[in-house]
């Protein structure tokens, strides 16, 4: 860094916004680490992020925290206020980099004399613009696959005619490769190129010689301002080229590369980061020529001009760098942040060893396996093929001393039922989803199990390789697992055999299945034979130096390095991989629980399997076990932490349904649970017990029952009346929840969508369409503290996680508020809750849509309880931030035995703040081809944003802006309204016209609008008949928002599907609830987009005017 630049006293860090596919919790982890690292250097940190469910937006992580929409205008206002000398965008994912480019293009950086830190602007462009990137590689003499950048369909066709298919298509400047793909047929080619050109903000795609089947290798590299470079880690994708690395099973370090190859690619990586002039971390993806047998299988008849090609560079911290950090113990984000403000690598201490510096390369003495977590358990009908467009919402990581064991542990960590590698349902599930089982060995979310199945059915490893192009080394390892399965089936279990099975990662459950025993019997046998896992440390240096990090993994070896921690301690059970319904919010809670325990003098012992998170950062807890969150792994850890036969208690309230589900097994094993007892949890979860409980308290709930058979379900539904809400018991995120209108729908649901058995009950409740509200509350056994009430904009029937929620319940009457508080207090006390609970209510009577600006009559309303969850919910971070009540921390202290009164809190509703805050869901639908985006009782959103302001209209405007749901004056809006909503939609239609919107509508809707004398243009739903049809007006930009409601009868879903998909693909708002649409148009009418920009603290203080 030259000497004439002003010193960096204040730096703006840009967060990555809501969790979407391609940008998940890893950026909270990276950003949090970076903020801490910068402050250690005496730099004052200004942070902006729109996502409240992040640790980084806690007010103690940065000096000035803004939870505001991530737009150029907002950031300019923040820069104008704060006047930072530098902006660090490299920790905010592609969102951060894109904003940096936009800020520069808008002249903001120059205007306020702000330096771009970390990655030069040129480099961001080089890495994203394929043409620049190609020139760059050419200049430094690094090989890239034959390719051409095109800006039109015609240019694309020309190149295709030249080189032939298959070709890879990559749109420029999109998140997670959105809109890309591999085309093997002319038709695919046409489709993907067209969609890629549309999605690219600069209408540009790259066509590239397909390297499908080549090895995909990544390097994580860091460079400082003195040009010192290191590689942190390399990674090998088990799934060869063709699958997005975020959707690939990844192994660290590489397994099949000789030292010559390893060093060849390492040298290339260093050359690239130097050429790009990055100061910080960088991810480099390369394709390496595959095994000759794979090459034969590919039949490419192509003699490449290089043994490797450079595929892609991410000039920033990334999902891969988070994985590399967790895989090695090397904190890439922390080091990158320090480098960005001028530190050199060797001047940064290695926090892991406490002795050595950051200028070294981690040595691993274990094998790491990452497996993506896909959302297809929720969207079985989505396109499950894995391509260059990422589809996973999260990932798991497992560490062990053999690849087989790491692979098996990672599989267990996925938490898809109890699915181990023994699961044989892949073919059946694929066929059930209407797919051809022949394609199962192509890259898809079930391929791992399909490969195992094939080996069990005596497909030879060679044949499997020919069909998957997976390197023979990985297939041999799978074959070794299958061989062990056969031994366990065939032979009598001996200590030696069991030891070997455990060393290959077989769980007690798997051994039990094969050896015809119960898992518990296998566990007992293990104990009899003294076969217990030992725990080894992840220390960055393969034990060469003594390390101080308390970061461990289990393995079956001789030496245990993790003697039980002395003193008081508690286990925090984390929430596992990010999936729809169990997102970063739960990790936020786990982190706060760990901090609160430590602050109370109780050592926190974290168990989690998710490498993306803050909870698995090595300095979050007093001890971290990177393990699957299943009964075996958790009990093993508890046993390892047991001193004098006293097992430490477990905190299960913060890890979402994962932890709650474990509570029953732990209690059954006689292990202590901190806070609410397993029995209290059971009361809330068991429909029968819960109903009895509420009726004892005289609190109403919608009528319903838990059923164990189809006939029972029909009987219950008949009694309570349709429509009914149906869902399996003990599930999260409304998984497989539906609103069912009649008996035949109910039968379909119970036979096709889910399975009802005496072991697996289904809940059938009367559906009440009304105002939905929820509260989070803390109960200490004496009092119940309710930090705040959240009122949903969408009426009941839309999953709470997909609803917009308003704090502090602006549209509720005092009487309703009193009832909510009363019910919550009585339930908390009577249920014996110690710690957190979340209650969802539906209010019947009055109008379903309420707005502070729309008069309505709520005199005669009744409050019903929909459900009680005796655990932390996904709204904890939101409610903590808008009330400044540290909910997770207080709850943890309550679990430890403190009282609310003792902490200075009283029962009842916490004073309502003089602000309005709105949590809005964010979806990743554009990544999930074939998935329908309508809102219903099954949760679909992947993340959330918050709009906060002094009044409702400002908050609403910002929430919509941050969620990309804003309407603008004069927008064209396409309406397609189901018959049952037509009357109600008139209010919305009037408001749209009032806001100057131009209306387009499908036949029936248009007829209704015309009948009322309002102007509308009719567009046909029939895609083949005339122009313009509904999809045309979306694609050609005539309309910039869609309102499409559903009748509730699933048979007509398909009609609207094309409309919704087209809107999703064009990235325009698609409202499937009239309530959301009304909120959006009201925001436009009320405010015309004006809002305040303040530090989060400032909203929490009373306004000064």
């Amino acid at each position: 860094m030259s000497n004439n630049t002003p010193p960096l006293e204040k730096v703006l860090v840009i967060g990555s916004g809501p969790i979407v596919i391609g940008q998940a919790a890893e950026f909270d982890y990276a950003g949090t680490q970076a903020c801490k690292a910068l402050r250690e250097e005496g730099v004052s940190v200004v942070l902006v992020n729109s996502n409240p469910a992040t640790i980084m937006t806690d007010t103690d992580i940065a000096d000035h925290v803004y939870i505001e929409p991530l737009t150029v205008e907002v950031i300019e206002r923040i820069i104008a206020r704060e006047r930072p000398q530098g902006v660090l965008p490299t920790l905010g994912g592609q969102t951060g980099l894109n904003l940096a480019v936009a800020l520069s293009d808008a002249g903001v950086l120059d205007r306020y004399n702000v330096r771009l830190l970390g990655t030069p602007l040129e480099t961001i462009r080089k890495a994203e613009d394929r043409e620049f990137f190609r020139n760059f590689l050419h200049d430094i003499g690094e090989p890239e696959p034959p390719n051409r950048t095109v800006n039109s369909m015609e240019e694309a066709q020309e190149y295709c005619d030249e080189v032939g298919l298959p070709l890879v298509i990559r749109p420029a400047y999109t998140l997670g490769g959105t809109g890309g793909g591999i085309a093997s047929t002319p038709q695919q080619f046409q489709e993907i190129v067209q969609s890629g050109l549309t999605l690219s903000p600069i209408s540009q795609v790259l066509l590239e010689r397909s390297l499908v089947g080549w090895k995909e290798i990544e390097y994580e590299v860091i460079r400082d301002g003195d040009d010192n470079c290191i590689t942190v880690c390399n990674m090998e994708n088990l799934d060869p080229m063709g699958a997005h690395t975020g959707d690939s099973i990844v192994v660290a370090p590489s397994q099949t590369l000789s030292d010559k190859e390893y060093q060849m690619l390492r040298t290339a990586s260093l050359k690239i980061i130097r050429g790009l002039g990055i100061e910080g971390g960088c991810n480099i993806q390369m394709a390496l020529r595959p095994h000759p047998l794979v090459e034969d299988a590919l039949q490419s008849h192509w003699e490449p001009d290089s043994d490797y090609y450079v595929i892609e560079v991410n000039p920033r911290v990334s999902r891969s760098s988070a994985l590399a950090s967790k895989a090695t113990g090397y904190p890439i984000a922390r080091v990158s942040a320090k480098i960005a403000v001028g530190k050199r690598l060797h001047e940064i201490p290695n926090a892991v060893t406490g002795k050595t510096g950051a200028a070294f390369e981690p040595a691993l003495d274990y094998c790491v396996v990452k497996i993506p977590r896909w959302p297809f358990d929720k969207f079985p009908n989505g396109d499950r093929q894995i391509t260059t467009q990422m589809k996973a919402t999260g990932e798991v990581m497992a560490v062990d001393r053999s690849f087989e064991a790491a692979l098996q542990k990672a599989t267990r960590s996925l938490e898809i039922g109890n699915r181990t590698l023994l699961w044989e349902g892949a073919a059946a599930e694929y066929e059930k989803a209407g797919k051809n089982a022949e394609e199962l060995l192509g890259p898809n979310d079930l391929r791992l199990w399909a490969m195992m199945s094939a080996l069990r059915r005596n497909t030879t490893p060679e044949d499997l390789m020919n069909r998957t192009y997976v390197d023979p080394w990985f297939i041999s390892a799978m074959q070794r697992i299958v061989n062990m399965e056969r031994r366990l089936l065939r032979e009598t279990l001996t200590p030696d055999l069991l030891y070997r099975a455990k060393r290959l990662g077989f769980s007690d459950q798997q051994v039990g299945t094969l050896a015809d025993m119960l898992p518990e019997q296998v566990r007992n046998l293990r104990h009899d034979w003294d076969l217990r896992p030992v725990y080894k440390m992840v220390d960055t240096c393969a034990a060469e130096f003594e390390a101080v990090t308390p970061y461990y993994y289990s393995t079956y070896e001789q030496e245990n390095e993790a003697p039980a921690l002395p003193g008081k301690k508690a286990i925090v059970i984390g929430s596992g991989p990010i999936r729809i319904g169990q997102g970063i919010e739960f990790d936020y809670c786990s982190v706060h629980a760990a901090w609160a325990l430590s602050a109370a003098g109780v050592s926190s012992v974290m168990i989690n399997s998710n490498p993306e998170t803050v909870s698995t950062d090595f300095d979050t807890s007093d001890r971290l076990y990177f393990e699957p969150l299943d009964e075996e792994a958790v009990r093993d850890v508890i046993e390892n932490e047991t001193v004098d036969d006293v097992p430490p208690p477990s905190v299960v309230q913060f890890g979402g349904q994962t932890a709650i589900n474990l509570s029953q097994s732990l209690a059954h094993a006689g292990l202590p649970i901190l806070g609410s007892s397993a029995d209290s949890i059971d009361v809330a979860s068991d429909r029968q017990r819960f109903e009895e409980f509420l009726s004892r308290l005289g609190i109403p709930q919608p009528p319903g029952a838990s059923v164990a058979s189809v006939s029972e379900a029909l009987q219950v539904a008949q009694n309570i009346g349709y429509p009914v809400v149906v869902r399996p018991s003990y599930v999260l995120g409304g998984r497989a929840m539906e609103i069912v209108q009649n008996a035949s729908e109910l039968v379909r649901y119970l036979t096709v969508a889910t399975e009802v058995t005496p072991e697996r009950h289904v809940l059938v409740d009367h559906y009440m369409e009304g105002k939905e509200c929820e509260v989070d509350a803390i109960c200490d056994g004496e009092q119940v503290l309710i930090p705040g009430i959240m009122e949903h904009i969408e009426r009941a029937g839309v999953h709470s996680g997909d609803s917009m929620a308003i704090y502090p319940g602006l549209n509720l009457t005092e009487q309703e508020v009193d009832t909510l508080v009363d019910y919550t207090t009585r339930i908390g006390l009577a249920m014996g809750v110690r710690g957190l609970m979340n209650i969802q209510f539906v209010i019947q009577g009055g109008s379903a849509y309420r707005s502070p600006h729309a008069p309505s009559d709520e005199s005669e309303t009744t409050v019903y309880i929909i459900e009680v969850n005796p655990r932390g919910s996904r709204t904890i971070p939101f409610i903590s931030k808008v009330t400044s009540v540290p909910v997770a921390s207080i709850a943890t202290r309550v679990m430890l035995g403190e009282t609310l009164a003792g902490m200075g809190y009283s029962g009842g509703l916490w004073p309502r703040q003089k602000l309005a805050a709105i949590k809005a869901p964010v979806f990743s639908m554009s990544k999930l081809v074939g998935v329908d985006s309508y809102l219903g009782p099954e949760m679909k959103s992947t993340g959330e944003v918050m709009g906060i302001d002094r009044d409702f209209s400002g908050a609403l405007s910002k929430a919509l802006l941050a969620a990309s749901l804003s309407l603008k004056q004069g927008d064209g809006v396409l309406l397609s309204i189901a018959d049952q909503h037509k009357a109600e939609s008139l209010a919305l239609i009037r408001e749209l016209l009032e806001a100057g919107c131009k209306l387009y509508a499908t036949e029936g809707t248009a007829a209704m609008i015309q009948a009322t004398g309002m102007p509308v243009t009719m567009v046909t739903k029939l895609l083949t008949e005339s122009y313009p049809n509904v999809v045309d007006v979306i694609n050609d930009g005539t309309v910039s928002a869609v309102v499409n409601t559903l009748s509730g009868d699933t048979s007509v879903l398909r009609d609207g599907f094309y409309i919704r998909r087209a809107a999703v693909d064009r990235r325009i708002p698609c409202f499937t609830s009239l309530d959301t649409a009304r909120a959006a148009v009201e925001a436009l009418l009320m405010q015309r987009g004006s809002y305040n920009i303040e530090q989060i603290d400032a909203y929490l203080k009373p306004a000064e005017d």
Binding site: I230, R266, A542, A543
Partner: protein, 380 residues
Amino acid sequence: MATSDSESSVPAYLVLEDGSVHRGESMGARVDGHGEVVFNTSMTGYQEVLTDPSYAGQLVTLTYPLVGNYGINPQDFESARIRVAGFIVREHCDQPSHGRSDRTLDEYLKSQGIPGICGVDTRAVTRRLRDRGVMMGLLTTGSPEAAAARLAEMPRYEDQDLVRTVTAADRYRWSLEGPQPAGTQSAEGGEPRRRILVTDVGLKYNILRLLQARGCEVIAVPAETSAEDMLAMNPSGILLSPGPGDPQLLGYVVGNVRQILGRVPVMGICLGHQLVARALGADTFKLKFGHRGGNHPVQDLATGRVYITAQNHGFAVDPDTLPPGLEVSHINLNDGTVEGTRHRDMPLFTIQYHSEASPGPRDNEYIFDEFLGMVKEFNH
């Protein structure tokens, strides 16, 4: 544990002089192996490690648990044969996957009569060595109790002149095809090239490859070659190679080195670096557990730049004993030990680390260019 799940495994033991016994299964030749037990943290490059003469007299454990994944290939040897006295791994792969592989690790060890052990908790062994220092050990498939008793009577590492066991018997010329008898003509022809002698106290082929790739005529000479004989060959420069063992035992080489310093440009690598220091009167000492791996940060004191280096040494130069004129040029950032020296007046510099890598990062090949630059300048 062998990656095969065969039931016919033979128990084997690694017995250390501190009395600890580490159980595993036999691989490679079923003979006893005796030596100093050391660990290497490289995650790739086992073939290069096995054939690196600097490991003579040592039982080597790799901290990375999965070994043999890409087999053994005909190209990546660093000397004519396996040099380690025995090999200790967590898991060896008998189904390697690589286009160049022509045999498994186990087959290679067997073919050269070298014992190995797998299934060992190599991290436990490494931690022991780290905490207590390197120690002698015995690999055996026999009784571990008997082995412990025998171990006490076996010669110690630092008492053995291991250079004599690895140095070339005769001088040879390096060509693209490998070693050729000295005196044969270079097949490459063209202009007369710089002649670089490499004193073989345990050299790695990659030193010769890299010099040859830089247009040098490369001749390796046995460790005992006298200074007169070396100078009589009219070398443009002399490179003192790496090698095994305690430099204190190598008086016969040190004497020759002393006579060539200042008369020809000299570069020393690893043991060669230590020999130069001793030739000029400095002391060397034994490190607790040495530096072996591909991730050691070394700082060039002149520029402040940091380089990631490959290392393999158990002894180091004592900086407090350096004679006037010989200055520390590089240090190890982990423990501050000397990683290089440069002479103020003579055409002479040395490095403790391995610029030839193989295995390890190739970041330091530029050192050979610096050497050849010094050679060019001197011969001007």
